[in-house]
Symmetry: C2
Subunit: 337 residues, 2 copies
DNA sequence: ACTTGGCACTCAGGACGGGGGAGTGCCAGG
DNA sequence: CCTGGCACTCCCCCGTCCTGAGTGCCAAGT
């Protein structure tokens, strides 16, 4: 059904279309790539490819354009991941190495990805749940209000205000701080919920209502409210691709943190680079875009995901290479700090 | 030179053009607004207005379009600020009141502004330099590395890692923490630099090199590196206005924090709503956009600025009203927390 | 069973060419 | 100073034509 030449034709169509943005016809195909057969032969192959749903023609008497299915076949079987040259790798590394805190790492990563791929870059903040607590700080703000600051071993700092049911004395705060740090330091955040459950008995009875308020905020922050932020960059690159009328929808989708989270999260394998093409995205406004994502993290386990988003007509090998390389180096940076 | 009717004509032209996005002619003017004179009279007025540079016609035998100068006159003398109805105010208030921390306040503010004005919203994080230190925390991360966390009375939390020249003992950290909090708590950040200068003598000599490293990071963070972040939202609204080819440039400018800072910062009066129209923006890519900004802050002094950005063809009264109202309520929220 | 050249066919897109219409400037009269 | 009338100017829309790239099909060649 799909002999080698037909696959080669599909690959050629994808490559040409990606680089020229024009439907590609049989004649220009044989010219550009050195397939040593005649245009007529190619036409027959293209007819088959079209029948199978890998390509379409926008209108009669026009060249062919890959379908989502065609791109899918392309990334799955026809294209590798373009590896990055040592020079490029060095550039990535030095660019990221200059960062001085987590926010900065994330910002730099977004910029870097956007610039490397000339697409929209999307980076999720390292997840809380996989990391461990390094320190908890409590600061009185007002009479019945505290500021709770949580520092994780990935360098992330979470802050939350707590409204207390009653007054609280300074030494009670000191006690509470000691208890919290004694019991929670070094705990994986995933385990915190259960650890917190046994805390109340360590607090002197009169302070328990206040302590309970603090505890519930901790649990809420870390476990239930899984509000990973997602940072987007390079939106200007969207104007290069012509989404005709859809650009508005794409931009809208990019502003919905929830939507982005879903897109990033729905990938199977954490370590591998995964590609979601066009209609494979369930999000309505992104039916004509593709996402290339992968997990990243300090060490082995993935803490979060990052990737790029662009038109389905995208240079997948390069995008995949960039995403993979950047993820790797961000992981290194995070592991070091 | 500019009698009342001519001003009325200019106002009418601006209003019509803003709402229809089409060059407005003499006839449609007298129809829509009840100027009780004939089209010919209006034509004469328009000729004068054109001569003075307030309006132009895109081509002969077309209606007139306001120039930047025209809009300028409009906002300065012809339009007030559209006040918001009590219902709208309540909506703003309740929307913002749900926020649980500073990040959330800023995010909500951006969304709110974008939605109210259907333009791009721009919100600067509350400035550090105007606020005071509420607490400083030091947490050992590794052998020769500390995490420094600064909490300000505006609820902002700054974090920075410090690389130390030498080892540091736990009790030295405790001492350092005590010294810092004793001397800096409640200080305005603007005064911190001088306060820090006298700190070294309070530290026991052997620890001074390490302490110095910490102090220099503090000063650097708070004073020299004035890295106020700017958050942008509602970029999708740009697609409604037709920037033909310039949309790319606008999006690019919006991704440059530095550019945004300059735009927000360059305003004179902190409290008033200021408008910068088209070519009044020195930034290259934003020559066809206008910005409406104002300062906001807890209490009287402005901590930072916020505003909206859109095409020069913008509903200025509404935009100004929205910016003013939102700034006011954000200030309230900040003052409370 | 493929491949190839030939041939007729299709259609998007650019060039050309009128109207139609909205708008203007000017002028003479109120 | 305002007004109606009038001639004029272009943009824009619409229909027409034409060209060129590309296709599908077929009959002949390997």
């Amino acid at each position: 059904m799909l002999d080698d030449r037909k696959l080669a034709v599909l690959r050629a169509i994808v490559e040409d279309y990606v680089s020229t943005n024009e439907p590609v016809g049989s004649k220009s195909l044989v010219d550009r790539h050195n397939l040593d057969v005649s245009p007529a032969t190619i036409r027959n192959d293209m007819a088959v490819l079209e029948e199978l749903g890998y390509i379409v023609q926008p209108h009669t008497s026009a060249g062919r354009v890959p379908t989502d299915l065609g791109y899918r076949l392309f990334v799955d079987r026809l294209s590798g991941v373009r590896p990055f040259s040592p020079a490029e790798r060095r550039a990535i590394e030095t660019f990221l190495a200059g960062a001085y805190d987590l926010d900065d790492v994330v910002m730099r990563t977004v910029r870097l990805l956007a610039q490397l791929t000339r697409q929209v870059a999307v980076v999720q903040y390292p997840s809380l749940t996989r990391s461990a607590i390094r320190h908890i700080e409590i600061v009185p703000l007002a009479d019945r209000r505290l500021l709770l600051v949580l520092i994780t071993d990935t360098g992330r700092v979470e802050q939350r205000t707590v409204d207390l049911p009653g007054q609280i004395a300074d030494d009670a705060i000191t006690q509470l701080r000691a208890v919290l740090n004694a019991c929670l330091d070094g705990r994986k955040l995933a385990d915190v919920a259960s650890a917190v459950a046994e805390l109340p008995e360590r607090v002197s009875p009169p302070d328990r209502p206040n302590a309970a308020a603090v505890f519930s905020v901790i649990v809420e922050t870390l476990v239930e409210r899984n509000d990973e932020r997602v940072v987007v960059g390079g939106a200007a690159n969207l104007t290069a691709a012509d989404f005709s009328r859809g650009l508005h929808e794409v931009l809208e989708a990019l502003e919905e943190q929830v939507v982005l989270m879903r897109l990033l999260g729905e990938s199977g394998d954490q370590a591998a680079v995964t590609v979601r093409i066009g209609s494979e995205n369930e999000v309505h406004g992104l039916r004509s875009t593709s996402m290339v994502t992968t997990g990243y993290g300090a060490g082995e386990q993935a803490l979060a995901r990052l990737g790029v988003l662009g038109p389905t007509r995208m240079d997948y090998p390069t995008a995949m290479g960039a995403v993979r390389a950047v993820a790797r180096y961000v992981g290194q940076i995070l592991a070091e700090s």
